[in-house]
């Protein structure tokens, strides 16, 4: 969260902004990030910075896998993905590990 907050404050400064009102993050379900922990860390780190009191919005990005045998992509809400056609476990993860600062609302 420190790197997320650091990046958010830097982007705010570069955009000539004063305060941060909303921080939007995109977090893949397979990123290993626990959203509760992010919120907790944000609550501890933000006070005293221009992001104090900002709202943290976390968008969860579902995991998308590629099945080699069927040459198709499929989405899985299960962290342990199986191709819906051939029921084989997929080796190739195409999305779901993101940890991204998507956008900011600033003034």
């Amino acid at each position: 969260m420190q790197s997320a907050l650091g990046l958010a404050l830097k982007q705010t400064r570069e955009a000539g902004g004063g305060r941060v009102h909303v921080i939007r993050l995109r977090i893949g379900v397979l990123s290993g990030v626990v959203p509760d922990a992010l919120e907790f860390a944000f609550g501890a780190l933000a006070p005293g910075t221009p992001a104090e009191g900002a709202r943290l919005v976390i968008e969860s990005v579902p995991a998308r896998f590629w099945c080699e045998a069927c040459a198709r992509e499929f989405q899985s809400e299960d962290l342990l993905a199986e191709c819906p056609d051939c029921h084989r476990a997929s080796g190739e993860l195409r999305a779901g590990r993101e940890m991204e600062l998507a956008s900011l609302e600033i003034d």
Binding site: M1, G43, S60, L101
Partner: protein, 303 residues
């Protein structure tokens, strides 16, 4: 600090922690039993009801909208604007990991990042691997722990140069720590670098250190379903070492179930079943590393 669990907050007892919590700032190993969605996007149901309270008051702007506060009230939002950023949060770590990778590649080092829960046998396995790799492969070791240099002392018994990184309250190694530690390591005649990460199956999964191979240990004493409980870590593995197989019978280890679970979560990982105590499986592991090292040598420096 860690993006995953929030460890390593500045100060021993960060402001706001003691005031709002009767529990420690974070618990390692709480895992991913709940993924929560914040009510956006269709179809993210994980069978978990989101009634958990927010335990800290600083997250929401509303908490600060009392008179006299300089935040704009919600009704007067004209000055607000949205800035699209779309940048990776761990960018800094990724940059430093790439720098490490270039440094390692230029020296022809095969670099392994060892990850597992505490107590699955990383240190003993590494010590025995280093001994058995001589004289073909000569390893240097970086070992991360929150405190003490006990593991470094144990690893020095192998004869390899060892640097201990004590991370304090941080639950994982970062590329920057490895970059600094490697400066203290005499790598002149070395062709393998082994990094023993902090024992933790959650957060270290997110931090690239510049390694060639991610090696995840699973000991037979941990339960066959561990890969199902910690998918991100096992999903990221290039190699899975099943350790302590000499104890398999004593702890009722179900080999078929463990392998089936691993194939489900880590289908691309090479699996080695080993015992550092009896030496079982260690030759196959040694041969694999020799092959990998040869492949690095022919690859040449990056770029």
């Amino acid at each position: 600090m860690c993006n995953d669990c929030g460890c390593g907050l500045p100060g021993e007892k960060p402001a706001g922690v003691g005031a709002h919590h009767s529990e420690p700032a974070h618990e390692h190993g709480h895992g991913h039993e709940h993924e929560h969605d914040h009510e956006h996007g269709p179809g993210h149901h994980h069978g978990h009801d989101h009634s958990h309270p927010h335990r800290h008051p600083h997250t929401h702007a509303e908490a600060h909208a009392e008179p006299g506060h300089d935040a704009a009230p919600p009704a007067e939002n004209e000055a607000r604007r949205t800035v699209e950023v779309r940048r990776a949060i761990l960018e800094k770590n990724e940059r430093l990991a790439e720098r490490n990778r270039g440094f390692f590649r230029a020296r022809g080092l095969l670099v392994l990042n060892f990850l597992s829960s505490p107590g699955s046998g990383k240190t003993t396995f590494i010590r025995e691997s280093v001994r058995r790799l001589e004289p073909d492969l000569k390893a240097g070791v970086i070992v991360g722990d929150l405190a003490t240099d006990n593991d470094a002392r144990r690893l020095r018994e192998s004869g390899a140069p060892v640097v201990q990184v004590t991370t304090g309250t941080v639950c994982h190694l970062e590329a920057e720590m490895v970059g600094r530690a490697v400066q203290q390591l005499d790598l002149r005649d070395r062709n393998v670098l082994i990094i023993e990460n902090v024992g933790n199956l959650v957060c270290p999964a997110s931090y690239d250190l510049g390694e060639d191979l991610r090696v995840v240990l699973l000991s037979v004493t941990e339960g066959e379903d561990k890969p199902l409980k910690y998918p991100p870590m096992f999903q990221s593995a290039d190699v899975v070492i099943i350790s302590k197989i000499d104890l398999a019978a004593a702890c009722g280890y179900d080999r078929a179930a463990a392998l089936a679970n691993l194939r489900r979560v880590s289908p691309r990982a090479r699996i080695f079943e080993t015992s550092a105590q009896t030496g079982e499986g260690m030759d196959a592991w040694r041969e694999f590393l020799c092959e990998q090292q040869r492949a690095r040598r022919t690859l040449g420096p990056l770029g």
